[in-house]
């Protein structure tokens, strides 16, 4: 359902999702994602100003729930502006984010 690729030097985290991201699945992955984000933020100091970058890779996703949309929003709010993106959406998924009014905000591509 979720695999992480972490590039510590660039403070870049890619979350690769797959399958159905329904409410139940989202309950279990939400904490996992937030923990990873904490890890990513660790080591950040005033002298180390590299901004973290987070991508949600949707290439293999077949369904998203409202809970997943909320995870996207929370992650966006916890990340530094402009450094969160939802990538590899198929057109259908893009439309879902469009209907939710979030495609621009969340940098859906």
């Amino acid at each position: 359902m979720i695999k992480f690729e972490h590039f510590p030097e660039e403070k870049h985290l890619i979350c690769r999702f797959s399958g159905r991201l329904d409410t139940l699945i989202c309950m279990s992955i939400s904490e996992e994602i937030q923990n990873k984000l904490q890890e990513l933020k660790q080591g950040q100091s005033e002298t180390n100003l590299i901004e973290e970058k987070i991508d949600f890779d949707m290439k293999d996703v077949t369904f998203i729930s409202s809970s997943f949309i909320r995870i996207c929003l929370i992650t966006f709010k916890n990340s530094q502006k402009g450094n969160f993106a939802i990538i590899n959406c198929d057109p259908f998924l893009k439309k879902i984010f469009k209907i939710a009014g979030l495609d621009d905000l969340l940098g859906v591509s």
């Binding site: 409410t23 998203i64 729930s65 409202s66 949309i69 879902i96 984010f97 209907i99």
Partner: protein, 477 residues
């Protein structure tokens, strides 16, 4: 205060919008599974919800509210269960047009105190069938029973895999809050059933709306009618939930040649004809003198309760109070819509006078709604039907149960009855699932042979008149 309300409205609408987005992913089978589960849950709770609604509102009869809940679940479900509402819904090889159904988005549903739980059940089913999240604003007098109805439907929907927040009820709030939601840019459609003020507010909101307001249903009993049958059906309808359906009969119109028979039959079937003095007393408690509209305190009360409040003595088992009136309009307060077992009664000198009176009554607050006729003369049925301005002309049938469909005819079962432009509506139809989808049409190339065979430069020649061009255009076809 306004900012707080706006924030609350935004939160509700954001949830609804997410539900709308998620709903896009559901196919017909998944959608139908949700609808079936919600129908069953609503149906299984029909008695409990009816009793709750009755106890909370004090309107109508719980036994009849059960039947309303049955119409809103079993009949509505029967009507919509096989309808295609997702993806490709039709394809026509001849025209080359394929139709695709798309959901509308969040629907704001306002429900009345007279049919509270049934309207929630019905609107929820048609919204889910079309993959639209629904936000319900219940009348404050029926908030508890509507909240319970929503809880039951929402739990069933979630169990069947529906999106989170696909059904929400807005908390008790001010009129300002309701208006704020109505005009919120994220609302796709308002489905308003209620009084004139509410419907007007829906149409003034700036969002698309289907708003259905009051009726004022005249029923003509023709000389060709089976009179005892007609009276039995009128009573069955007018006493249904103590007259709270907006399609219930408001006045009976006859030719005076059958007056004695009709009056005798009404009396035989326990209806009471008020004296002129008693009419005045009933008017005082039934109609507000300022607005000239019905007093909400008598809505859905029984004939005996109304008589007691009016201070008149009537036989104990009286079913309907009947006021014989000489005219229509503000000088005859009981000629307007009264959602209680009170009927206006008119006896006219002939058929044409009767029909002219029906027109006046039809246009007195009930344009486009429903009318009724009892007759066994097809010519008169059709003449009456073409003269009246009504979405539903209900023939030899109780108008309450007839207009809502599903029991006495094959009209779509509905608790929101379109009244056409006369009622400021876009349709005269009974509102159902098919009104809650956007239909996209894929139009494949099917060239117009006549157009392409015609020398279109002739359109530029001013000396050619319409007949010449049309003859040439149709040549060899």
């Amino acid at each position: 205060m306004t900012e707080e309300l706006l924030k609350k409205a935004d939160e509700l609408l954001e949830k609804a919008l997410f539900a709308a987005a998620v709903f896009q992913q559901f196919d017909q089978e998944q959608t139908d599974r949700i609808v079936e589960r919600v129908f069953k849950a609503g149906f299984n709770n029909r008695v409990k919800l009816a009793k709750m609604a009755y106890e909370e509102t004090g309107i109508g009869m719980w036994q009849h509210k059960v039947l309303k809940n049955v119409i809103a679940t079993q009949m509505v479900y029967d009507d919509i269960k096989n309808e295609k509402t997702v993806g490709v819904i039709s394809h026509n090889e001849i025209t080359g047009i394929t139709e695709i159904a798309q959901p509308l988005g969040p629907i704001f549903a306002v429900t009345p105190v007279t049919n509270p739980t049934s309207t929630v059940l019905y609107k929820t089913l048609i919204c889910l069938k079309t993959r639209n999240p629904i936000l319900i604003s219940a009348h404050r007098g029926a908030l508890k029973s509507c909240t319970e109805t929503v809880r039951i439907c929402y739990e069933a929907a979630l169990e069947a895999g529906a999106p989170d927040d696909c059904i929400q009820i807005i908390p008790a709030g001010s009129r300002e809050f309701t208006q704020m939601i109505m005009s919120h840019p994220k609302i796709a459609l308002i489905l308003a059933t209620g009084g004139t003020g509410l419907v007007k507010a829906a149409y003034s909101s700036g969002n698309p709306a289907i708003g259905v307001g009051p009726g004022n249903v005249p029923v003509f009993i023709d000389v060709s009618a089976d009179i005892p049958f007609a009276i039995t059906n009128i009573i069955l309808s007018k006493t249904f939930d103590n007259g709270t359906i907006c399609a219930s009969e408001q006045s009976v119109i006859i030719e005076n040649q059958i007056e004695n028979t009709v009056i005798a039959e009404f009396e035989k079937q326990k209806c009471y004809f008020l004296t002129p003095e008693e009419i005045k007393k009933v008017e005082r408690i039934a109609i507000s003198p300022d607005s000239g509209t019905m007093n909400p305190l008598i809505v859905g009360q029984s004939a005996t309760v109304i008589a007691k409040r009016a201070g008149i003595d009537i036989p104990e088992n009286t079913r309907i109070l009947i006021a014989k009136l000489e005219g229509v309009g503000k000088d005859y307060p009981l000629s307007v819509e009264v959602l209680a077992p009170i009927l206006a009664f008119y006896s006219t000198k002939d058929y044409h006078e009767a029909i002219k009176l029906c027109i006046d009554l039809n246009y007195l607050g009930g344009i486009g709604h429903s009318v009724g006729i009892y007759a066994n003369d097809e010519k008169r049925i059709m003449e009456f039907s073409q003269i009246m301005n009504a979405g539903r002309i209900v023939v030899n049938t109780p108008t309450s149960q007839g207009a809502v469909g599903g029991i006495y005819n094959l009209l779509p079962s509905s608790f929101t009855l379109g009244c056409g432009t006369g009622g400021k509506n876009i349709t005269t139809e009974n509102i159902t699932a098919r009104h809650l989808i956007n239909i996209q049409r894929v139009c494949r190339r099917k060239p117009n042979d006549k157009f392409f065979a015609f020398d279109s430069s002739k359109y530029l020649d001013e000396s050619l008149d319409v007949n010449t061009i049309i003859n040439e255009y149709n040549k060899n076809h």
